[in-house]
Symmetry: C4
Subunit: 488 residues, 4 copies
């Protein structure tokens, strides 16, 4: 009966082999842990370093800024975009209630709201103004240059209508955005929470200020011009006759009409600038979400590559890594997917605005470059003209680069996926990688073109080509010709 215990022991060994590869594996582990011990020190150094960095990041802005209010941001897009929409509402766009509320569920749209009524009223007013412009342009010879007022007012009108429609979808969009944000890995520091909101505020502020400066310069040069061609004795009347010639082409001068015209001009100019800024702000928001995910992946990559988690408990951590990884990657993939869907929804909602913004910029840069060949009649004109041209080109470049950053950030995920070590490589990581490779996550202009960095070059090439051809038709327009107007 002695062989039975022998048999039994074989049993045990067999079972062991199935459950644990015993010796061979143990040797591997010994070898592995020996190899890992070298990383041990650098591991603690790395961790301490990261923790220090976090503390520094957390303390730094607290000390330098001090305004805790702005700092207690929760990093949500809804909160970051609140004041931007408030400004828009003041200029009769995006009539949504509750934009500064704490939670996106406070948002609502109603046709009977005072904001909506104001918006509708302004649309009607813009429509009238557009009609007057159209009437004046069609009654004069048409050229590439002379249709500028129609393009300008038509775009503004279109954006107004689109923004009204967008306002109706805004509460749902923000709710979806909120859901996606909840699912994302949490920000590590208060600073990173605060960053997106800060960038959005800065873009808005800078855009508004430059737009305001341009309008002031435009007024100065128009007053200068009006005083030269004084039709009447009243300089103010001259100014209004000039800047709102589409109105006084059909009506005689009254102060009310002049003020209406001025009001239209100011509001239109703002809306015309706002559409570019809005595309930028949405892009910043979307790119920030991808960056939030990428930051988490970078941290993970750092942990994996620079120090192995708890090498003293290598065997357990190894199991931990192997068990955790697929779930970890599956979660990240779903988060990435959600941001992609969010990106799609936002693109559907704003792609008409994007297309209007890009075609407008393309047209206006061509027109302005053509006008740059004219000799400037006065210093005021020259300053206004070059400021306006540089602002226009700068704004176009900014909107191109910010909107292409969504695509850039979405591709950056790939860089971290490439560095996943062989041991953590699993079907989920593979699926994630393939999805990142094959998806083209971008904002677009009605899907006709996608906003990537390569677009910038092709837009620039198009401008140069058109410009070279257009120059041939150019005749130096006498800006002192009082029968023509270049303000509208």
């Amino acid at each position: 009966m002695k062989i039975l215990p022998k048999l039994e022991s074989k049993w045990r060994r067999l079972k062991k082999r199935v459950t644990r590869p015993s010796l061979v594996r143990k040797l591997d582990l010994v070898h592995e842990s020996a190899r890992k011990k070298a990383f041990q020190e650098s591991c603690d150094t790395y961790k301490n370093q990261i923790e220090n960095e976090y503390e520094i990041r957390n303390n730094l802005p607290k000390l330098s800024h001090g305004d805790r209010e702005a700092f207690l941001s929760d990093g949500s897009f809804h909160q970051a975009v609140g004041r931007v929409l408030l400004v828009a509402e003041f200029f009769a766009m995006m009539p949504v209630k509750g934009v500064t509320g704490k939670h996106p569920s406070d948002l609502s749209f109603s046709w009977r709201n005072i904001r909506t009524c104001f918006s509708l009223l302004f649309i009607a007013s813009s429509l009238a103004n557009f009609g007057l412009s159209l009437f004046k342009v069609l009654n004069n010879p048409i050229s590439f240059n002379s249709i500028k007022p129609i393009i300008f007012r038509g775009s503004v009108l279109l954006v107004l209508i689109v923004s009204l429609n967008l306002a109706r979808q805004w509460p749902q969009l923000m709710m979806y955005w909120h859901t996606v944000e909840k699912g994302l890995p949490q920000y590590k520091t208060q600073l990173s929470k605060w960053k997106m909101g800060h960038t959005i505020s800065m873009v808005m502020l800078l855009g508004m200020m430059l737009s305001f400066a341009e309008h002031i310069l435009s007024m100065v040069s128009a007053i200068n011009y009006a005083s030269f061609c004084n039709r009447t004795a009243d300089p103010i009347q001259n100014y209004f006759l000039r800047t709102n010639d589409e109105i006084f082409y059909v009506a005689s001068y009254t102060t009310a009409l002049a003020l209406w015209g001025k009001f239209q001009n100011v509001y239109s100019t703002f809306i015309w600038n706002y559409m570019d800024m809005f595309v930028m702000i949405v892009s910043i928001g979307l790119a920030a979400k991808f960056r939030q995910l990428n930051d988490d992946l970078r941290n993970f990559k750092g942990m994996v590559s620079k120090c192995i988690l708890k090498p003293s408990k290598w065997q357990r951590s190894n199991n931990f890594l192997q068990n955790m990884s697929p779930t970890y990657w599956s979660e990240r993939r779903i988060q990435y997917r959600n941001i992609c869907i969010l990106c799609d929804k936002m693109d559907d909602a704003i792609s008409l605005i994007t297309m209007v913004s890009f075609s407008n910029n393309l047209y206006f840069i061509c027109v302005q470059l053509l006008r740059s060949l004219n000799t400037m009649p006065s210093v005021a004109h020259a300053v206004y003209f070059y400021f306006s041209l540089i602002f226009l080109i700068g704004r176009t470049l900014a909107v191109s680069l910010y909107s292409s950053s969504v695509h850039d950030e979405s591709r950056l995920t790939l860089r971290y996926l490439r560095c996943v070590p062989k041991e953590s490589w699993c079907p989920e990581v593979k699926r994630f990688t393939e999805e990142v490779i094959s998806d083209e996550v971008t904002l677009s202009g009605m899907k006709f073109f996608h906003l990537t960095r390569k677009l910038v070059l092709s837009v620039a090439g198009t401008i140069v080509t058109y410009e070279l051809v257009l120059i041939q038709f150019h005749e130096d327009n006498d800006l002192w010709d009082c029968d023509q107007s270049y303000y509208s």
Copy 2:
């Protein structure tokens, strides 16, 4: 001998472990079913909601429309396209027998059929007309503008011959289409069955009406013009002398020739419009098939993501899901593949028509935009001209967008595949995904260009570039110059 039962019990346990992971798995299941119970309520709600929606959808059009005939559509492309082809046959195209038959097997083509004879006769007549136009154009100085009649009549002639060839293949194509449709997931509602046919009818009706309106306007302005340049005393003769100048360039006026010319004009205009509409209709058909598949995938996605099937019987349903999935996806993949092959076959059959249609539109838009620089001699001319230009641009845009929708719908499948949960992810889904990613399913112009949304922008860019260059050669043509004709 006591150890033997022990040994035996170990045996059992070993066997158990192989066949069922027993305890561990059971715990998992308990945990899982606990997690799933939360979804239970929302599950029933979701199902009821969907069922309600179906009922609403089914009832809604029944009440509002009432014509049961049109409503009892079986959702097949053959049935939907029947009346469209009937109209084409009236205009000497696509001489196939049995286009309004219930089943595609009723379709047949024969050289001896009356339709075919009529078609051949008209081709001969068109050839004569084309010869006359060619003779007239070659005997005058050639310019970008003056070759318009040749382009027009040449395209019509080419499309006629291609459509005759297409008619021969039509029965086989429809049989293949029928086979593919049989294999697709069934429509859930009567409304979705009815939708494709309805869209096709609407496109056809609208196209025909606009085309008719344009022809009437063309006649009005031609009569206006002919009465101004009256060569003879007879206003009708003047009209015909003008609109068919290629005939009366070689022959003297007879009523028979005038009527023949008029008949040619009306038919050519229809065929010229019909080729765009035909491309649109085939695109609508193909896109609808992809949508049918996508709808099924969306339903599946909804079921999987929003509520788990019968959570009370979770274990069984889990097995069910795991067993069903590969087959389900394999079937969907083969269905997708079949639509792709169908798309390929249709593209081979109609790609020459597509290319003629696109190059025609490109050329005519360039010509018309150039002419828009002319001063219009009369209101009738202006109305006709701008109506015609807008119709042309609108039609080009419509054909571009409808045909690119095939590509868009085929890519949409990817969106649902991306959302397949980790548990259902299997090699079949992977294969399906990779095929959707790497295939470029589009209609094409002889494979030289593929019809996607990006094409629209490049066509627009080409038009602008050519236009800018062409403007340089433009001289204002006096439309009251009675020696030239702009009607053909």
Copy 3:
């Protein structure tokens, strides 16, 4: 001790379960074979049908053609291209020995061979001619039009040198081609063997004949022209003075020089046409090899999809299929890979010729289209000019389409791989599919552009754009201006 046999029997069952899934699997097989029996009849029908087709194909050309010599082709590229190279050798290109030999190992290149000497002599002669042309052009005002002789003679010279270099590599290339061909699946019919050689011969014959016709027409119109501007009394001398003005610009007239000039003209014209034809012929060869592979895949697909091999012995055939498949696909993949490598090698060898050919065609079409605006001085001129223009455009289109067919055929493989049923899907098929998707197998112009169907459109677009711009500089050249020459 009774439990031991019990234990033993459990042993047996356990072993069975591991080696064969016994009952469950058997039931599956029964079910499967029942499902397959339905296909049985169609299977035999399909096989018989295919066999009949083969017989028909084999008999058909035997009866209709009768020349067994040409028919006993072994389907190799070396044999098919033999006579083409023989013609080239007559025109001082590709001085390789043994081009009409049975086996590529007969090929050899030697600097001392009479062919090589002739080739080198002609290169020297062409160089002198090119120098004379360059001298004449640089001593006259340079325009887009006037550099035509340099472009023409320069290209010919470049192609001559490249072809000499190609001749040195030709034996190795043909040996590699031979190796690849040996590895490919055998042709099923004599007809398919014969096809590639036949296409190559037809292309060569048609190209030569059209080129000859063009040269005759060119001579007729030149004689016509020379007789009008007779500088001397001798009409033959007039003709030579005109067609070789670059020689007589520096030297006075002698018959020897005139004959040398004529010889140069005839040879240059042939070489200028030959480079296009050579690119076509290599493309036909490469595309044929891909087609050979695709035909094999189509047969396999037909067998798999339409009838299952020997359903009565389903179990065995199933094993057979499962065992055979990976090997089958692995072989096909390696064959595909070999053709790709062959394609790469050929592209490296001829891509300079391809680039010269394409840029030449682009330039000459632009020049000829520009000249088409001139009024033709005589009917002989008009006939020559339009024949030449249509020949040029047709040749460019032919070379574009034939060379893009390599890419098209290489992509076609994907269509068959898509239809591999789930059961035969294995990592090898997956790898094959992924390689076909990601490889871009084309001929190229120095890798600067790849020859696909999309290139045709972009070339056409480029021609239109350049043409529209060039027209602006165009002045109607008086072709009766005897100081200028348009023959070279």
Copy 4:
């Protein structure tokens, strides 16, 4: 108790079956080794051949060159680029200390270093010169041609500032480069180590010499020109007045200013040439690293495909292959990844220089081609002008081709991966292949465009298009017009 040993023996067999598939596998192996024996002889031949080749390669340059110093290169980029940077430092760029040191850790940057001070001083001096140029240009009518001095000096200034910034990052970049190089497979021969450094030296030497030759020719033609338009009696003063007209536009002539202007000119010309060469040199370095990896893969491929390692010990080598392969491929993949990351880092560092270089070349080729339409006033001018034009085009082509070689080499890896035999195919090879396919490893111009061979064609197309349009505005500038200057 007899059945127990029987049971035990069954145990053994069962265990055997699990660990080794015994008979079936043995038969396979016998069959396999029989198949492999055929390769045996060719195997030894192949190995001997390769070893001979190595010896030949190692001996060949030793005998022919002899300078052991240059030959004892360790193949690192740091060492290869040392002398290049030394030259740059002499011309006030890249003020890094220790560029000729043995190890990259010797590199350092300090603001207080003499090199940095010299660099900063020269930037200030260039800024002054740029200001003067800008002032002169803005005070004259602006045209495509007249802004050349601003473009020239502006680019130089920009490159100077970028290179200063690059100098700060250089030590870290070189350290990273060093780390990557250490990880790469070792060079097999001394010759391959020496190659990269040699190419870099040759490019630098040739570039410098041609640039110097161009400058001499420029001086000769300027002296020629200045002596014609002698404003003053002093020929040297005339020369300086002409070549530095932007200085003497605001200041009166002093020798100090003239020398400063000359110094600026010489240095600017060098820097303007250097930026192209720098892009080339970095490209050569990156491409060499990819080639190093590819060479290793080619050797591996050769071993695997042409002879099986030690076929006499097939079984063991088979295990060896199977065990080694994943690790081998994983290592190669990580090496490839590291070079990609290196490529990314270098691109971030130099992409602004790349963009300036490409846009400069594009602009200058357009300007020079336009000027080529002018009639040259003297032989000196003509020689200088055509030398300068050909140098410019050659340099642009060289920088395009060298920089696109990075992309070409990175894709070449795919060719070897395609040839991995079925037996070695493992998930790691698959992952490697997919990464090579989906990554686009190139240098770029600020990510706006990527440097591939296709870029060359699009740049050429752009130049032709712009040129055709620009020609229309061209008027023949009288180069003897002494009021204008073409030297700057």
